[in-house]
Amino acid sequence: MSQDGNLREDTEEAVPSVDSENPEERIAARRLRIAARSEAKKRQELGDDSHEKKDIKEEARKSQHQVEQSEKRMIKLQSDGTELVTNIQVAADSRESQRRTEVEEAHRLRVEKLENEAKSSLEKFEEITRKWTVAKMKEIPQDLRDSLSSQQQLCALLIEDKNKLIHELQKEMKLSDDRYVKDLKKQGEDVDLMIERMEDQVKFLMGSYRDELDQIENSFEHERKILLTGNRKKWEQYMKERQDKELENVMQRMKRVEEYEVLLQQLRTEDAEEYNMIKIKLDTDVQILEQQLQQMKATYQLNQEKLEYNFQVLKKRDEENTITKSQQKRKITRLQDVVNNLKIKCANQEKQSREENQNLTDDYTRIMQQYKHMQKKMRHFAAIDAKKFEEVWLMNEEEVKALVEKALDTDRLVHEQQLGLAWQRPPLAFMERCGPLQPQRQAQKTAHQAISELLRLGQTSGCSLGKGKYREAGAGPEAGVGPGAESPALAVEVYESGAGLESGSSEVERESEGSGGEHSGTVSVKMVKKLLELLCDEAGFLIESKLLKLLSPLEKDEQSLMKLDSIFTAMGIESEEDVYKLADFFMKYRHTQGEQTQDVSAKWGVASPQAERGEFTSSCSPTSDLIHPNDVLVALRAFTAHHCRPRELAASHQPSMLGLGGREDTEDAAYWEAMGDVIPEAKLKIWGALETALDKYHIVLTERSKFITDTQSLKQQNTELRMLLHQYVNSRVGVPVIASRGFVSRMCLLI
């Protein structure tokens, strides 16, 4: 059992894991898992049967145990047998090795012996050879014989020794031969014994194998029997159960069959009654239907005749229709021809018109070129004109200035010499100026500048609209009073600058600008700033996203400035005026929205600026909530709708002033007039009076001068006459005295 446990452990260890790298092993592992799960399920279902199964397993184990045991036994028997058989071999081996050592030993001894022998025999041989020399020396025959015989003896001894050795060796050889034969025999016996043992072993092993096989078979048989009986018992039990169940089922079925038969009978009777009723009813129905059928047949015949007649009529009509159809067809073909013709014509026309169009486009381009050329020319001429204009202007101006100077001089002379009055030079600003008048519009600021300034101003103080505004607008003193209440220093400055700069400018212009100034002055800077911030927040959609990204690192004010700028460009607001218009519009909008009940809206157009301002300040500064953020967009839209119209108008009339000729000449007249009016009317009157007086004086003087000349001539005549007289007197006093008498009288008269 312990072995079994081991086995199971081993299998558990060797079970393939799902996490293994080898895909086949993973598959195997999954399969095992599935099998285990299904088995577990089965076991749960069976429940009680598991016990029996366990028993069976136990017994199966028994047989397995038996198998293992016999296997072990057989292995042991086998190893024992082989040991028994190989024992002989081992013994032979050991004998052989022993023999080898012995042989080696004997060999060694033999070699030693032989060496010894060789040594001794060599000595003996040397002795003999020595003796030979001695014998040679001997001359006595007897001695020689003696020595020879001794030599012979010695030789015989030596040979005997050798022979003995040989004999010994031969004996040894024989011994070893014997031993070899014995060994051979022994080995043969060993082999026989081995074969015998092997056969015994084979027999024995066969027997034991058979025994073991029988035992194993028995155990399996036993197991099988147990299994069979168990299964049969179970089988019988199940069979019995089944039989019982079947019997029960049969009984139930019988019962049910009876019940159903009764029910069937009942149903049959009921159905029969019903059937009869229905049959009668249906019979009557059939009769009615037959009557109806007859009627229908009659109507059918009638209808058939009618239809036949209709059919004839329709046939006729059809024939007519075919005729008309053919006519129509013919007409269609004719019309088709016409259409084709028309198409061709149309194509031709198109071609012509295309050519015409081509010609016209060519003309157009040519005219455009001409136009451009003309424009260029016009510009050129305009430039030349302007130059000429300037030159003429300068010339005229110089002339006029000289004239003015002359007039002033004469005036001074008149005053000083004729009237004896002190003469004061009137202030003449335009005298310093030279060249044509430049339009003053440039002074107007762009919306952008206005905003930036506004924002800057808004930070420092809560003053009303910027000084730039007043300076530019040249606001009159009455405009400066309003804001002056809040920042007098600024107002004064504005006033001064405005007075200094614009004293010479025309009244008309000042008034027009002033009104704008007044208007813009109505909205306080703070409010405008707030409004702008509101706009900045609410109309963010008008700003490009790129711009927003670029703006992010800037300061808040600068950011809002840039945003406003972009918003205004999007809305088309360009100048500061527009900004204020917008602000104003917003305020109005709010009021129209919020204060309709007060009915102030009517007042807006007429009310004096002061009143407006008052209202603005009163309404805006405390509450400080402007237009509601939600209404900003609506208001904006309304503003753009309002604002755009005048803008369009302005745009339409802009191109005319595009060139250099687009100068304003309204001021010119004033300018020249101012030049002309350098001597005022009163003075002119004085001059008139002076002239008449001087005329009179002149007449008197001329008369006097005439008289003087008359007297002079008379005096001369007198003298002459005197002389003549004298002469006459002196010479002849006769005839001439008569002629000269008249003369002398005249002379006298003169004197």
Partner: protein, 458 residues
């Protein structure tokens, strides 16, 4: 065998004496499955019979239908010339009949269950064993080569005949050694020259050869059992040329050191040699050194040199090679003269070697010092499965040391220490450990088998 050709090749003339054969009078002959009442055989059968009769002149076999082919093969005579049949007939049944007719007793299991292979191997062996140098024409052997080349996988030559000598000479040289033979201008070769054969057998895997004469009886002469230098040279060259050889066995042939060296020199770096058996020879230390060299210059898995004359130095050479070797599985040095010197060297080599599974050191005059080193081996080495130390005088102390070593071992399943004079106690202990190891190995084996079965099942 006699019955079927009789029934098939029945001559039409035999019909005349129908009555003579009692078989013909019977209506049904149950023991002959081909017997039928129709007296006239079918035309196809007649044709087939004709083919069978004239098979030698006109071998027609492959063109036939399978059914007819069987019929013809069943009736072909086993004595047909091999030139006709060798490469044409592959049916084992025919060759079985040939073998049975020629040798009677046959064990086909040792020939890979192929009768044809058996026939050709034994036929070639017979030819070589009866080859007499200078007397037999080498063409008798060479003529067989194209016929049997594809079927011969093993050659087991159990004898090689020497050349015939003139009678007076043989009488003269009765007692003389082979050295005197060598001097004369005798035969062109001393035994059959394998050089002409081995390189032509392209499927040869096993080659066993013994230079001796079988059954010489009272005509024994020393020179009948002579393996000369010339033989050695030609054999070595032949072995070198045979590239498919896996198993080589040269035993009982008086291979001494010089011949061993020559053989080994020619076997160095052999591409396929796996098993070398040089048992029952006269190899000494120098030969052993050569073998040691061969161990690491080849893919040898099994080396058997038992019953030789290897001593300590030779064993040291083999041990040196063994320490570096990683292919040898089995080593048999039984009945040599290793002594303690050699035994210790081998054991020390086993401390490093991790492939050897089977070791036989029986009858080597080893004693206690070898046993101490071997016990160390038993502790450290876990690849060794079987060790045989029988017939060594290990003594009581050696036994105890071995017992200690075995206590720490779990891989050795066979340990033979018979006739080693170890104490009974150690003997018992060692056998106990061995049995334990066997059981473990057995269970392991069983579980592996079970696993294999289950995996197959899935």
């Amino acid at each position: 065998m006699s019955k079927s050709p009789g029934a098939g090749m029945y001559p039409p003339v035999a019909k005349l004496n129908l009555a003579a054969d009692p078989r013909k009078m019977r209506r049904i002959i149950a023991e002959d499955p081909e017997w039928s009442l129709t007296v006239v055989p079918l035309l196809s059968n007649l044709c087939l019979q004709c083919i069978v009769r004239n098979f030698e002149e006109k071998p027609i076999l492959e063109e036939l239908l399978p059914r007819h082919k069987d019929y013809v093969l069943e009736r072909l005579s086993p004595s047909l010339p091999l030139q006709v049949t060798a490469n044409l007939i592959s049916d084992d049944g025919y060759w079985k009949r040939c073998c049975k007719q020629r040798w009677g007793l046959c064990d086909v299991s040792s020939y890979g269950h192929s009768w044809k292979r058996m026939f050709f191997e034994r036929h070639l062996e017979n030819i070589i064993e009866l080859f007499i140098p200078d007397a037999t024409d080498p063409k008798t052997v060479l003529g067989m080569v194209p016929l049997c080349r594809n079927y011969v996988k093993r050659l087991d030559i159990s004898q090689l005949l020497p050349p015939i000598k003139e009678p007076q000479k043989s009488e003269d040289d009765d007692n003389s050694d082979s050295a005197s033979d060598m001097g004369m201008d005798g035969p062109s070769m001393d035994h059959f020259d394998f050089g002409i054969l081995l390189d032509k057998l392209s499927h040869l895997e096993e080659f066993h050869v013994v230079y001796r004469v079988k059954g010489c009886g009272m005509n024994f002469e020393w020179n009948l059992f002579e393996f000369t230098f010339r033989d050695c040279e030609s054999l070595a060259k032949a072995l070198k040329s045979c590239k498919t050889l896996r198993v080589l066995r040269i035993h009982q042939s008086k291979v001494d050191d010089e011949k061993c060296r020559q053989l080994v020199n020619n076997l160095l770096d052999h591409p396929s040699l796996r098993e070398l058996n040089l048992s029952h020879n006269l190899i000494g230390d120098r030969g052993a050194r050569a073998i040691g060299k061969l161990l690491n210059r080849s893919k040898l898995e099994s080396l058997t040199v038992y019953d030789n004359n290897i001593r300590g130095p030779g064993a040291q050479a083999i041990a040196y090679a063994l320490a570096k070797n990683s292919s040898l599985l089995s080593l048999n040095l039984r009945l040599n003269r290793l002594g303690d010197e050699g035994g210790q060297a081998i054991a020390q080599a086993l401390l490093k070697n991790r492939t050897l599974k089977w070791l036989h050191l029986g009858g080597n005059e080893m004693t206690e010092p070898t046993a101490t080193v071997l016990s160390q081996v038993l502790v450290q080495n876990n690849t060794l499965r079987s060790i045989n130390l029988s017939c060594n005088r290990l003594g009581m102390d050696g036994g105890k040391v071995l017992e200690e070593g075995m206590c720490h071992n779990s891989s050795v399943v066979e340990c033979d220490i018979r006739l080693t004079e170890v104490g009974q106690e150690s003997d018992y202990c060692i056998s106990q450990v061995v049995r334990n190891n066997q059981n473990q190995a057995h269970t392991k084996h069983n579980t592996e088998e079970n696993l294999a079965q289950t995996s197959e099942h899935y």
